[in-house]
Symmetry: C2
Subunit: 183 residues, 2 copies
DNA sequence: CGCTAACTGGACCGATCGGTATAATCAAAT
DNA sequence: ATTTGATTATACCGATCGGTCCAGTTAGCG
């Protein structure tokens, strides 16, 4: 019986990305030092720099992974046979559930745009994410204008949820999006 | 002829707040050191700590000043006799103009919420700002639900503008808000 | 005048930052 | 069995962080 399980749990690179996903998102990008990153991944700083040229590059890799996760999540929660109204409703319901469960504390891309605006590669991923969300909504609504507006309501709801400390604004946003779609 | 002009330009506290307004907003809160703050204000670090207990307290004072500026700006650009549609349109037009002129690069309160989420007093000001904007929109629309939705569209437009690098989303948002108001 | 309070110019603190260097260790492939 | 490359532990780098302290200067005010 050959041992198929890797040494610790995935490669050093994988574990570093997992650590980045946790620390960058929860503690902030600028607030998280490379030392803490390596420690969380169970790896030394030298290994970090053996896998990534710099912290900036790790930030970009972190965002790229988040972008793929977002794409996967959007697809996974999107029932093929449902109406546009139902498909949009699910997006807002999922967000509200995640906020209430403490799984969501602000859009990682919006956060990155504030924390590392000087990282051009990172900003490119931020834009990719925004385009992907609008594209997905356009696919659902078959109306680019409506899709863009719903995307704004979505992002605005996230901000309102943070400002008020509740998920209520997201529910409100879902209704607003539904009304917009019905018109 | 008595010299009525103050030593430099206002008190040390005033100049520190002016320096904070520039550096915190343009360079970021965490990225700006107290040394740079004091230098920009033409003051020593000791004076900074003579006027503010800590950097965190200066951050709060900076946000409070921004909040007052926001209130004043909202009132100043709000013609008394105009229709709700016109009053809302002005808000989005002003934002679009500011972005195009390079005067606006993201909501300072949303930025602060990302950069210093652990500063509770600062977060309270963020919430105050959000409430003030919604209250102002409610005063215009006479409909709390519509006001909340327009506020989300507004915040979402700011994010879209940052992600795309243009002010176009704000124009789109203005139209969306107008449509919402007409219904 | 003399008092007070603010401000200056620095030195200084411990901690942390991102990043590099070195030498030893370890596992896998040849 | 030997080579290779990744990883380890650790020490180190210069720079900066927020914050403190002190001796000396300046300005307003009774």
């Amino acid at each position: 019986m050959p041992d198929t399980t890797p040494p610790a749990r995935g490669t050093a690179r994988t574990r570093l990305l997992a650590a980045a996903a946790e620390l960058f998102y929860d503690e902030g990008i600028n607030t998280t030092g490379v030392e803490a990153l390596a420690a969380k991944a169970g790896v030394t700083k030298a290994t970090l720099y053996n896998n990534f040229r710099s912290k900036d590059e790790l930030v970009v890799a972190y965002l790229r992974a988040k972008l793929e996760a977002t794409r996967a999540s959007l697809a996974a929660h999107d029932p093929s046979g449902a109406t546009p109204a139902k498909r949009v409703a699910i997006i807002f319901d999922t967000l509200a559930t995640d906020i209430e469960a403490g799984r969501f504390d602000g859009c990682p891309f919006a956060k990155a745009a504030v924390e590392v605006p000087g990282n051009r590669a990172a900003m490119a991923v931020v834009r990719e994410h925004h385009d992907a969300v609008v594209a997905h909504l356009t696919d659902i609504t078959a109306d680019a204008d409506v899709a863009e507006t719903i995307a704004m309501i979505y992002d605005g709801a996230i901000i309102a949820a943070k400002a008020t400390g509740t998920a209520d604004p997201v529910v409100h946003a879902g209704h607003a999006a539904a009304r917009l779609l019905a018109a």
